[in-house]
Amino acid sequence: MASVAAAREAALAPPPLLQASGIEKTFGSTRALAGADLALAAGEVHGLLGANGAGKSTLSRVISGHVRRDRGELLWRGASFDPSGPREAIAAGIGMVMQETSLAPDLSVLENIFLPDLARPGRLSRGNWRMRAEEILETLGQTASLPLAVEVRRLSAAQRQLVEIAKALAVEAALIIFDEPTASLSPGEVERLFDVMARLRAGGRGLVFVSHRLEEVLAITDRVTVMREGRTVARALPTARLSQADIVRLMVGQELGRIHQPRAAVGATAPVLAVRGLSAPPMVRDVSFTLHRGEILGLGGLVGAGRSETLETLFGLRAKAAGDIHLHGRPFAARHPAQAIRAGIAFVPEDRRGQSIIPDFSVRENLLLGHLSAHRGFGLGTRAREARMKALLARLDLPAERLRDANMLDFSGGMQQKIILARWLLLEPRVLLLDEPTKGVDIGTRAAIYEMLREAADAGTAILVVSSDFEELLGLCSRILVISDGTTIADMASAVLDEAKLTLFAAPRSSMAATTRLLGDLAAETGGAAFWALRDGGRLFCLARAGGADPGADPGADPGFTTGATPLFGETRIATALAHPPGQSLGRFIAEPDGGRHSLLVPVRSHRGHDFGVIGVCVARPPLPDADAIARRVADLVTRQM
């Protein structure tokens, strides 16, 4: 019976546009793919999921011709397909929208869209280009959002992505692979991207959506394929039948809870590192925080928010323009890394190959590189570190004889990262800065890295971790600092947060310009305060606020919280309004029982049904503004901007 049902399902399923089976790929001694399968049809959005290092990106790059497979079969429209480079894949109709965009920043939008045309014989016709570009933007429903004559480097991340999509359409791609397309987009921009993807699907194209953000996967994909450690572990499951928990189980193969153990908050001790108003233009504008002994503090935000640059400034790799840094209570400013290292600061950068590994050095010499820089003598002075090095090596699961191995690049990404981490732990730093410490690292090594970090923290090291993986931040850190457009906007206990809230906090302030403008307008017109917030479990999460506490404003209208605050309703000055059941509190002003402050809450909901919290207005006393007019303006903002 089962086989009959399977046969019927197979007959009903549309013929595959692309079929990859048993794909294998080895880089050096790293096995990136060990039997990866993927089959997708025209007219579907197919999710390709997996944890960091599962092989999603490598498989995408095999299909798009950037990487050549070692073994396995690739069928494109039923025929065997073996692209020797991206050019051949593009010619066959396979386009890819890359994680880090592959655009030429100094060329115009139009030139970038038709860049592949330069590889064709014959004359170029700009007039023709312009016409076709306008057609393409029309099909995407984005005519207004992309000026064709502007140079690409002036565009936002979301606009650049749109250029990439237009570029794929210009070569009439039938299959477009989106590799982590939402990594640097705000929630509003993500919605717009999903609209574009839905249009492409309706136009009969096949789309691959590579991501590890499960909510987005559930929202946009029709079917999903899940990879783990280079292998496909679930093929083309219909998304409608899956829950987030199912997907996580498939991705990880074990319960994530086992490797994530949120840390308890540390007691109120004097901070090891206190940063106030740090700026290093253009990426770091106004960063403030404190970091305590034994604490693991998370620095969350989108790619490009200034997270890495903040760490680099603290470590002396970037010049500081303004702001105060206090280390152990004394003013401190590292002009170059050697100063930071001697003061007890260590830094594990994001790009292992580019910023950490010395490829011509043995493992041992790589491990001792931090020591070499901290050491003041003329010789190498390694004897003093031997004992601690031995202890650390035992933690790495690295056989002692491999210390002499000439090429570190032959090790797996996870082992490389552990060695780099050990390079700094060897120095017993008092402050440890880490940038994406588990990028490209398998799940087993991740657990080992977390363990090493927890042990270091327990021994008194103060740790600051940057990560795009919000689940990692929530599972590892006791407190999370959110940075957006180079400014720290919130400092919250991770116990009260979840991934969805963190994602909204991390949205770029620039993409919220219309929202902040509306809040400012509302505050000015009503003479009160206006705010944008989420409500969950009796707690308020304030994403932005205007008015009230500003100089010259009416103090009577102060709702009792500011941007980035996460108070319980009872801790605010508008507890009654916030606690009202949704049906009653929305749409009219609610007065607080003490007679002061009347508040209005208007829900913010996108046309795809995504909940973006509420926009609230709080005034000190009647006359009350027109609630319906405010609700209309919020609705208008949602249709135009979110």
Binding site: L317, I341, L369, F378, L409, D410
Partner: protein, 301 residues
């Protein structure tokens, strides 16, 4: 590469009855001194991923300065002037390359032209031959039975090897050539150790000039012309990567010996000197090709 040296050595021994004679072997080492000392400095620069085209001119101009200073300052004073001038010129190139980020090829190309032009101007286009006769002792006084110029060469190579292998500065030079960004992010003193190799190279070019002048008791403003090419060739034949980070000072010494042996052997065999360029050039290309094939097989970067 050591294998290549042995092959050349055995072939030449078999081909020419004169090659293995003690006189000829001493002659080989004697001929290696100038190129060898310059190549040691060149190794420092190439290990950081740079190149120093100015060594030949630096040898010329520092020798001329020494010749002018010697009548007033004595032998030792003249030598010190030459070495200080060489180091100073290296400092100038090094600062332009490391501090201002100019391409080492271009900076040292400029210094090469300036150096040669100054050598002509300072010397008035003439050879300087009124040197104190005692100057000649710098070359031929035996130390432990070895002529002092060969002893100098060997001592300098031992010191360079010890420095590059066992000191913080030496390892920093390798790290900079292998991955400058990583060296910076690890807190190594990238600026200092990017400048220092040019200083070493300039100073060693001057030392080579001193020994050359002492040997022939005459200073020609043309001295050292095209020496940079021999030095680069020796370093490359010795297995170093022009991208930096890979190579050894021992390899460079073997590279120098291979070149000198081939020159010497072809002379003994009565081959026209015009063929020597082809032989050396062929070996350079073969050495680089071999290095590339080996690193491709071991999955290098």
């Amino acid at each position: 590469m050591l294998g290549l040296a042995l092959v050349v050595f055995v072939t030449l021994s078999a081909a020419s009855p004169f090659f293995l004679q003690t006189n000829n072997l001493l002659n080989l080492l004697d001929q290696s001194v100038v190129t060898g000392i310059v190549s040691a400095g060149m190794s420092f620069v190439i290990l950081t991923g740079g190149i120093d085209l100015s060594v030949g001119s630096v040898l010329g101009v520092t020798s001329v300065l020494m010749g002018l200073a010697m009548p007033h300052a004595g032998i030792l004073g003249g030598v010190c002037v030459a070495i200080a001038a060489g180091a100073g010129i290296g400092l100038f190139s090094g600062v332009l390359v490391a501090r201002f980020g100019l391409a080492s090829f271009v900076v040292t190309l400029g210094v090469m032209a300036i150096g040669r032009s100054l050598a002509y101007i300072f010397s008035g286009q003439n050879s300087i031959s009124d040197l104190p006769p005692g100057f000649n002792d710098l070359v031929y006084t035996p130390i432990l039975g070895i002529p002092s110029n060969v002893a100098t060469l060997l001592v300098l190579y031992v010191l360079a090897w010890l420095y590059l292998t066992f000191t913080k500065g030496g390892r920093t030079i390798y790290a900079i050539g292998s991955n400058r960004e990583a060296a910076r992010a690890a807190g190594l003193n990238v600026l200092l150790y990017s400048i220092m190799p040019y200083v070493v190279s300039g100073a060693l070019a001057a030392v080579a000039g001193v020994l050359l002048s002492a040997q022939i008791l005459s200073i020609d403003p043309l001295a050292g012309t095209a020496l940079e090419l021999d030095a680069i060739a020796a370093v490359v034949i010795g297995g170093a990567s022009l991208a930096g980070g890979r190579g050894s000072i021992i390899g460079t010494l073997i590279g120098v010996l291979i070149m000198v042996m081939i020159r010497n052997g072809l002379n003994l065999l009565g081959v026209s000197p015009f063929w020597q360029g082809s032989a050396i050039g062929g070996i350079i290309i073969a050495a680089v090709l071999a290095e590339r094939l080996v690193s491709a097989r071991t999955g290098g970067h």
